[in-house]
């Protein structure tokens, strides 16, 4: 047994230190691509344990990769340098809502959906709502700066974090931010850490901002015969003074896939489908719904459906929820991207995606949170078909290039991880990346904290085949 393994076992007992192959393989993947075996999986349950683990890692030069429940789509929790895999999902779950302060203090293992439920008990809401909220941990959401459909009105995870407890790569504990909404003391380390993808430290506690839960919601659906008009509907709505909570989009390929998978009466002749949710006071959203409807009518959307009950609203949303299973029937391997563009450039981006689909002959479908420009171009392919995977890799690179050329970003809500690292310089420039690297070097002098993420290694390219 390695000396480090002995030390870890002395600290955590055999029950929380795994070195067997079956266990190591079980932590070698996430919901993205690639397979990387850690040397050991450990399950810390206290901040002190994390501190000691970090000290052992520094002493023996072992990489440390924190992981929630592994729902990440960009490779954040993959132990690409082996070493220690920190399974944070078994940490004791604690959610303390301080309703008078409109905050919740949570531990990293808490499921995001459970925070929603706890906040709701006080008539409050934690707005970030990644689609995986019922399975992803808040620790992972914080690390990857997750988003969700409500991002349009409310923003992403970083907009709702006001304080953190973290263990630094050298094993010290530090606190950032606090419990106040206004806090301008010093550099904003909270925002630096949220979205740092586990490269700057291990999050062990977080203070989250809550907002009053809107008393009512109104769902609407509208279909368009061309993308340009759908684009106009989006910009006209957003400049009309109404800010919907969600504005979701499905392209024709998604609509057809859903209808094939589970017929829901969607208009299959349409090129674009918009799902809009307004939230707020019942009287207000009634007026706003009228206003939005007016815009949709003027643009000749057909049909336009305004949900009259919760049940009807659920039915409309179920079509959106069916997209993932429906498109999975096209081909088994799903490359889920989240390239995001300024909202005025959405129609152009859609054109570029169409070209990419044709040029590389890939099954490309588009859906996503179009109200904030956050598209999910998904390429459906088959991992076993190498030739197809090479075409898919090229298509993905083209998608990134298109988003950046239109003034957008590589990632709206999934993070960079291993998947997008090779493209960082294209977005941030040489100086930008170099500044990030300097921060990383200052925080983590031995480069043990989740190495291999965000920053591309020399010659690293996007590879979706065999890890």
């Amino acid at each position: 047994m390695h000396e480090w393994e002995e030390q870890l076992r002395a600290l955590l007992s055999n029950k929380r230190v795994f070195t067997e192959l079956a266990d190591r393989y079980s932590y070698s993947f996430d919901a993205s691509f690639g397979e990387h075996l850690p040397e050991v999986v450990v399950q810390p349950k206290t901040t002190e344990e994390v501190q000691t683990i970090m000290k052992i890692a520094n002493q023996f030069g072992l990489a440390v990769t924190p992981r929630g429940q592994g729902t990440c789509l960009s490779g954040g929790p993959l132990p690409v340098h082996g070493g220690i895999l920190l399974d944070m999902a078994q940490w004791p779950k604690e959610i303390n809502v301080f309703a008078d302060d409109l905050i919740a203090v949570v531990t990293p293992s808490v499921l995001t959906a459970d925070i929603h439920a706890a906040a709701e008990n006080y008539g409050l809401m934690y707005p970030p709502d990644p689609s995986s909220a019922h399975v992803s941990t808040i620790g992972g959401n914080l690390a990857e700066n997750s988003g969700g459909p409500r991002g349009l009105k409310y923003g992403v995870t970083k907009d709702f974090v006001i304080g953190l407890e973290i263990v630094t790569p050298e094993g010290d504990v530090m606190h950032t931010g606090g419990r106040t909404i206004k806090n301008v003391t010093g550099y904003d380390l909270t925002k630096l850490l949220v979205g740092s993808e586990g490269t700057l430290g291990v999050i062990t506690k977080a203070t989250l901002k809550l907002v009053p839960k809107p008393p009512a919601v109104q769902t609407m659906m509208a279909a368009f015969t061309d993308m340009a008009t759908a684009g106009k509907a989006i910009s006209k709505t957003l400049t009309s003074g109404v800010l919907p909570a969600k504005m979701e989009f499905m392209d024709r390929a998604c609509i057809e896939a859903v209808e094939r998978y589970r017929p829901s009466g969607l208009p299959t002749a349409s090129e674009a489908l918009l799902l809009i949710e307004l939230d707020g006071h019942p009287e207000t959203i009634k007026l706003e719904a009228e206003q939005v409807k007016q815009i949709l009518v003027e643009l000749q959307a057909d049909p336009i459906i305004t949900a009259e009950s919760d049940e009807e609203a659920q039915k409309l949303w179920s079509a959106r929820k069916l997209v993932s299973p429906a498109i999975a029937t096209i081909k088994p391997t799903k490359i889920s991207e989240d390239a995001t563009v300024p909202r005025s450039r959405i129609p152009e981006m859609m054109d570029r995606l169409k070209q990419i689909k044709e040029e590389y002959q890939v099954e490309l479908v588009v859906f996503g949170h179009i109200g904030d420009g956050n598209l999910h171009p998904d390429i459906m392919c088959d991992q076993r078909d190498e030739e197809e995977m090479i075409r898919a890799e090229k298509a993905v690179a083209e998608i990134f290039r298109a988003a950046l050329e239109l003034g957008g970003t590589l990632s709206g809500e999934h993070g960079i991880g291993t998947m997008k690292a090779p493209f960082m310089e294209q977005e941030m420039g040489e100086v930008g990346v170099s500044m990030l690297k300097r921060i990383k070097e200052a925080w983590d002098p031995n480069n043990i904290m989740n190495p291999g993420k965000i920053f591309a290694e020399k010659g690293q390219k996007l590879v979706l085949r065999d890890g």
Binding site: L21, S26, A31, L111, V135, A328, P332
Partner: protein
């Protein structure tokens, strides 16, 4: 070799898993064992690794053995991964690859070839249980604590077994029952193996409920064990042989439904069609069989022929069988029946779909793990403060009884099969139905 292993493990099916992790929150073993290795996603990944030669069959054994096979994961999977097929093929491969001692081989051969499929043996089990209970041996054994030394924790289960009927009672059963009026349906009853020995009285009640509801009931003589235990133990060929015997037995006379009262057996009977997919001789016959399979609760609701003459003023909670919920997809009929009993207050569990840990013979082979899962279940039960627990599967019934006993609540909570509860309310044939 690698290619064969890929075929045997259904490697192709593993690609349907996009590793999203949506199965994690519903998996009982992921919850109690607290590691990805014991989650559906982890197991599917390991099957893939073994098929690719990156890990060995030995590495796969424990994660697969510790799966309850409750199939809760299949109900939330967004890409419809055929976990059941992957699980059973993995069991089969493990069984094939395992080097077993002579005694192990002999024991397994006896259990799977002679014991479960044999009516004679099941009679013996029933008779032995009866003899054991009435002869005073049970009392003596309990007094001396002999059973606590029994292997596989059988002692704990022995204490919760229902009183067995006498051999005379067992052999007095007729093979055909007629309703009082003209029959509304003709059904064949699947007696089950353990069900018909240890739970003979529940079978009797089931038959009577069917009869009272207006069904003519037949009991095909040559029927045998459903094969679920074999399939779950990786004994695929044996499971197929038993399936063929049952298909033949139930083909003899035309019936509307093939009725069972054990969630686990019902799930296996439902799968016969799938088992013979692509088999020119058997596929059609097996599908015809599976299409007729119904749980007792479905048939009772459909016939709607019962009227209750006595109130049962008690609070019950309902523990649904996983195989009934997740494989047969029967959820509403049992609840409907419980609610139809006058006087009964039904308090549903917070997490009814969480397995109780019985899972075939899991509670014997993986006893400690099954008890951890049972503890989670019992916390939920205690929150509801019921006077009784209703189940739809003999395995769940025993397990829940054990749970009640472990909590020291035998005096407060009665555990019954749904047919017990219905009979308690003294059902008679509905008048309207009679006319």
């Amino acid at each position: 070799m690698a290619d064969t292993l890929k075929d045997m493990l259904r490697y192709d099916l593993t690609f349907d898993c996009v590793q999203c992790g949506y199965c994690l929150p519903v998996c009982p073993t992921y919850e109690t064992m607290e590691r990805e290795t014991h989650s559906p996603r982890g197991r599917i990944n390991l099957i893939k690794m073994v098929a690719e030669g990156k890990a060995s069959v030995e590495d796969l054994k424990q994660p697969i053995d510790k799966c309850l096979g409750c199939m809760a994961c299949t109900t939330v999977c967004p890409t419809d991964v055929q976990y059941g097929q992957l699980f059973e093929s993995a069991k089969h491969v493990i069984d094939e690859y395992e080097e077993k001692t002579f005694v192990q081989q002999k024991t397994e051969h006896f259990l799977f070839h002679s014991f479960f499929p044999s009516t004679a043996w099941m009679d013996q089990l029933g008779n032995a249980t009866w003899l054991y209970q009435v002869s005073g041996l049970q009392k003596a054994a309990r007094g001396l604590n002999v059973m606590s030394a029994a292997p596989l924790h059988l002692g704990k289960f022995e204490q919760v077994l229902p009183p067995a009927p006498s051999p005379k009672e067992r052999h007095a059963r007729k093979n055909r029952l007629h309703p009082d009026g003209p029959p509304k349906a003709v059904v064949a009853f699947f007696t089950g193996c353990v069900m018909d020995s240890v739970f003979f009285r529940q079978n009797e009640k089931t038959l009577e409920l069917l009869r009272l509801s207006g069904a003519e009931v037949q009991l095909p003589k040559t029927q045998t064990c459903c094969g679920a235990l074999h399939a779950h133990a990786g004994k695929e060929p044996e499971a197929l042989t038993l399936a063929k015997e049952n298909i033949q037995a139930f083909e003899e006379k035309p019936v509307d439904y093939i009725v069972n009262n054990a969630g686990g057996c019902g799930a296996q009977l439902h799968k016969y069609g799938e088992l013979f997919a692509g088999d020119p001789e058997w596929e059609q016959r097996a599908t015809a069989f599976s299409d007729k399979v119904r749980d007792i609760t479905e048939v009772l609701v459909e016939l709607d022929g019962l009227e209750f003459t006595e109130r049962v003023e008690e609070t019950y909670t309902y523990q649904p069988s996983c195989h009934m919920t997740n494989v047969q997809k029967v959820k509403e009929p049992p609840l409907q029946l419980i609610r139809s009993v006058p006087g009964v207050t039904l308090k549903e569990l917070d997490r009814p779909d969480f397995c109780c840990g019985s899972a075939g013979i899991y509670n014997i082979t993986q006893h400690e793990d099954a008890m951890d899962i049972l503890d989670v279940k019992m916390k939920d039960v205690k929150r509801q403060c019921p006077e009784g627990i209703v189940t739809t599967n003999p395995g769940c019934m025993l397990q829940m009884k054990l749970g009640v006993q472990r909590e020291g609540l035998e005096e407060e909570i009665d555990t019954v099969h749904i047919v017990d509860l219905l009979m308690k309310a003294k059902p008679v044939t509905k008048q309207a139905a009679k006319a």
